[in-house]
């Protein structure tokens, strides 16, 4: 009886399926596509990044739609609605965290996918267009990351837009129209936020969906790249026949023989996103987007740290040309790559230039990203009031030298100069400054600046300068010998102190006096 019932249910189910399939006609081509043969060598853990990126994209669409249920894209309310999501909406914080971490993971996986495809020579004939579309997908993904950061409408977003506008303003001739087009108004405001909302929610996702569909369709149409072998040369005349033969000889159906690895990896990645979201929580929002609150240190999101670092470290006179020309060159080179190098070796062991390029670029971006975290070029705005002077630099010092230490703090020298490992790193650390500069050089450097240091001539009176230089002269690192001006010995029979008390005269330098330091000074 039960068995009869079961077969009945089965029959009804099959009938339903046939009813739909007769009208839709989707299942047959879908099954054919899913079970298409792929080279057995391609069923590898190295081939899982594309599908993982697609799964993350789906996650972003889903969480994005859910966030849009609450988010308010208005400059006056966006920040409040994010706080509301974080604190008042049940699990709002978790959805925000999923979307934020999903974004970072998606950028990372897309980049790994790009490197894998490049190293495996998968961009070569006949998959040139797949690569070119992939380059656009990468740019769109980065576009999503940047516009998403703007929608998190906090201080970082506000000043990040200012940076965007300032970069646009450097374009010759059409700079001003570009700034107005970017901001949608004369200042950063609601018009700007609405623009980025439109880009982030409608324009770029639409382009991404279309691009991903094309990208995947082309992978199905042209077949997945086979595992490269040294010496197996890609030739336009023979490649397709070779690939076909490879698939006939040891092809396996993509579903299920190869796809299980994609599925496992995708599940692991989604789980990792969930874990990060759960343990680390959502990104911000940081302070309110109120430009009158200027106590802020704007910084971009992690995917753009390396650009942030690059903008800080470029020589000023090269900055505009590099900002404007480098992206065109880099993107152009990526787009042209498969058209220029569409044939030849695929295996990395036969492409040393490719390996070198990836290594250099990866190391460079890695270093720049790390610098973006530490921002050694930024003055530490609070160092002058918050960082202590190491006690050893005050022990057994004259009143003048201690006064100099106060001048050192009060005049904000600390914001750019480290002492005892604390303070800004914009300028050199000063723990051993008097071994590098003589007294005269110190005075000159303080008053006139130079070498990327402002001149303090207007900000210091003579007694402050004297005290400051007296303090700086005590900073001799590990009791190293101070720098000395050799000409002093010739012009002045009693040169100023160049040895510390109790030090023996160095042999062969009879001009050095053995007097206490700073003679003639109070």
């Amino acid at each position: 009886m039960a068995k009869l019932k079961e077969t009945g249910v089965k029959k009804v189910g099959l009938e339903l399926y046939h009813w739909f399939e007769f009208r839709l006609g989707l299942a047959k081509p879908a099954i054919e596509a899913a079970s298409h043969p792929v080279p057995a060598s391609s069923a590898s853990w190295w081939y899982v990044f594309g599908s993982a990126a697609t799964v993350l994209f789906m996650l972003q669409i889903m969480t994005g739609i859910l966030l849009a249920l609450v988010y308010t894209p208005s400059a006056s309310q966006a920040w409040n609605s994010l706080q509301f999501l974080n604190h008042n909406v049940a699990l709002g914080w978790f959805l925000r965290a999923l979307h934020g971490w999903g974004s970072d993971f998606m950028v990372a996986i897309v980049l790994i996918h790009l490197v894998q495809v490049f190293m495996f020579g998968a961009y070569k004939f006949p998959r040139e267009l797949t690569w070119i579309i992939g380059v656009f997908l990468l740019l769109l993904t980065l576009g999503m990351a940047f516009t998403g950061q703007v929608l998190r409408f906090d201080q970082d977003a506000y000043w990040g837009l200012g940076i965007g506008a300032s970069i646009m303003s450097r374009v010759p001739i059409i700079g001003a129209p570009l700034v107005h087009f970017l901001l949608g108004a004369p200042i950063i405001g609601s018009a700007t936020l609405s623009r980025f909302f439109t880009l982030h929610v409608f324009v770029i996702p639409g382009l991404l969906l279309a691009g991903v569909a094309l990208h995947v369709l082309m992978v199905l149409r042209l077949g997945i790249n086979e595992w490269p072998m040294p010496g197996r040369i890609v030739r336009k005349s023979t490649y397709e026949a070779e690939y076909h033969k490879l698939n006939e000889e040891n092809g396996i159906p993509f579903v299920p023989d190869a796809a299980w690895k994609d599925a496992i990896f995708a599940a692991a990645i989604v789980l990792a996103v969930m874990a990060c979201a759960f343990f680390f929580g959502p990104f911000g929002p940081s302070g309110q987007p109120d430009p009158t609150i200027i106590q802020t240190t704007p910084a971009p999101d992690a995917p753009f740290f390396w650009i942030f670092a690059l903008l800080s470290l470029l020589p000023p006179d090269m900055e505009t040309p590099i900002i404007l020309i480098a992206p065109v060159v880099v993107i152009g080179a990526m787009l042209l790559l498969p058209l220029v190098a569409g044939e030849g070796e695929k295996h990395w062991s036969r492409r040393p230039l490719a390996v070198l390029m990836v290594s250099v670029i990866a190391v460079s971006i890695g270093i720049l990203t790390r610098l973006g975290f530490t921002t050694p070029w930024s003055p530490v705005m609070s160092a002058w009031t918050s960082d202590a002077i190491p006690p050893k630099y005050l022990h057994e010092r004259t009143p003048l030298e201690r006064q100099g230490a106060l001048v050192f703090q009060n005049k904000q020298c600390r914001n750019c100069h480290e002492v005892g490992g604390e303070g800004g790193q914009r300028g050199p650390a000063l723990d051993a400054v008097s071994t590098r500069l003589t007294e005269d050089q110190l005075v000159r450097q303080v008053l006139q600046g130079g070498g990327n240091m402002p001149a303090y001539g207007n900000a210091l009176n003579p007694s402050e300068t004297t005290a400051l230089v007296a303090f700086l002269e005590t900073l001799r690192g590990n009791e190293l010998r101070p720098a000395q001006d050799a000409s002093r010995a010739i012009t002045n029979p009693t040169p100023p102190g160049t040895t510390f008390p109790g030090e023996k005269l160095p042999p062969g330098q009879p001009h050095l006096s053995n007097k206490p330091r700073n003679p003639g000074k109070p």
């Binding site: 208005s74 400059a75 006056s76 309310q77 000043w159 200012g162 940076i163 506008a165 300032s166 970069i167 646009m168 303003s169 450097r170 374009v171 700079g175 001003a176 129209p177 570009l178 700034v179 107005h180 087009f181 901001l183 108004a185 004369p186 200042i187 405001g189 609601s190 018009a191 309110q288 987007p289 109120d290 430009p291 009158t292 200027i294 106590q295 802020t296 240190t297 704007p298 903008l311 800080s312 470029l314 000023p316 900055e319 505009t320 070029w377 930024s378 003055p379 705005m381 009060n410 005049k411 904000q412 914001n415 914009r426 600046g449 240091m453 402002p454 001149a455 303090y456 207007n458 900000a459």
Partner: protein, 212 residues
């Protein structure tokens, strides 16, 4: 009877209809008229598309082609709010804002009263990439937190990546009020004040709005 009726029906057809009916007889390949009509329909749609594109692109590029001057004269405060020889942070409501701009419509600036009625009013935006510069009275420097640009008290570039000094607003002292000409985020391409900023009488102050 039936034959007669058929004849009758055929007779009743208009010339166009009979022509249409007779067309297949000359073979399916002879479709030049339909091809022509299809091409004509493409042309018509193209023309409609162009006409439609004009307002759409006009709307999209509106912020570029807006010829209206964004700048106007704004009161920053009383002259005596700014002590001589000091540099103070001030802020104003941008002349062209909407109510939903919220706090982003409030723009800060640095006011340096050199002496008497002699002022310098600096934009908050660093000339490098627009971050907010901070004034340090003790070292008499403006420092930028983003990339370390530094400026002297008179706005001149002191150090760091900026290629020029701070952006400066044009100002007027009207009676006891300090006024500046402002309305746009200053960048290397967009000026802090209107190039031809002329003084507006005090009773017109504050009339500026988005559409005026």
């Amino acid at each position: 009877m039936s034959e007669h009726e058929d004849d009758h029906l055929t007779d009743n057809l208009s010339p166009e209809e009979s022509k249409l009916q007779s067309e297949p007889k000359s073979g399916p390949k002879d479709h030049s008229r339909r091809v022509f009509l299809f091409k004509l329909s493409l042309l018509v749609n193209g023309a409609v598309g162009v006409v439609l594109a004009v307002p759409i692109i006009g709307y999209l590029l509106g912020p570029i082609f807006q010829k209206k001057n964004y700048h106007s004269w704004i009161t920053l405060g009383n002259v005596n709010d700014f002590p001589e020889g000091e540099t103070r942070l001030a802020s104003y409501r941008n002349p062209s804002t909407t109510s939903w701009d919220g706090q982003t419509g409030n723009v800060p600036c640095w006011v340096r009263r050199v002496s008497g009625n002699q002022f310098q009013v600096f934009a908050i935006n660093c000339a490098h990439l627009g971050c907010p510069v901070r004034w340090f009275a003790q070292s008499k420097l403006f420092l930028c937190p983003c990339h370390g640009g530094a400026y002297y008290e008179d706005g001149e570039r002191a150090a760091g990546p900026p290629e020029r000094g701070l952006f400066e607003y044009k100002y007027r002292v009207a009676g006891a009020k300090l006024m500046i000409n402002a309305g746009e985020m200053p960048t290397l391409a967009t000026p802090a004040s209107a190039q031809n900023a002329n003084f507006v009488p005090l009773n017109k102050v504050g009339c500026a709005s988005w559409r005026s």
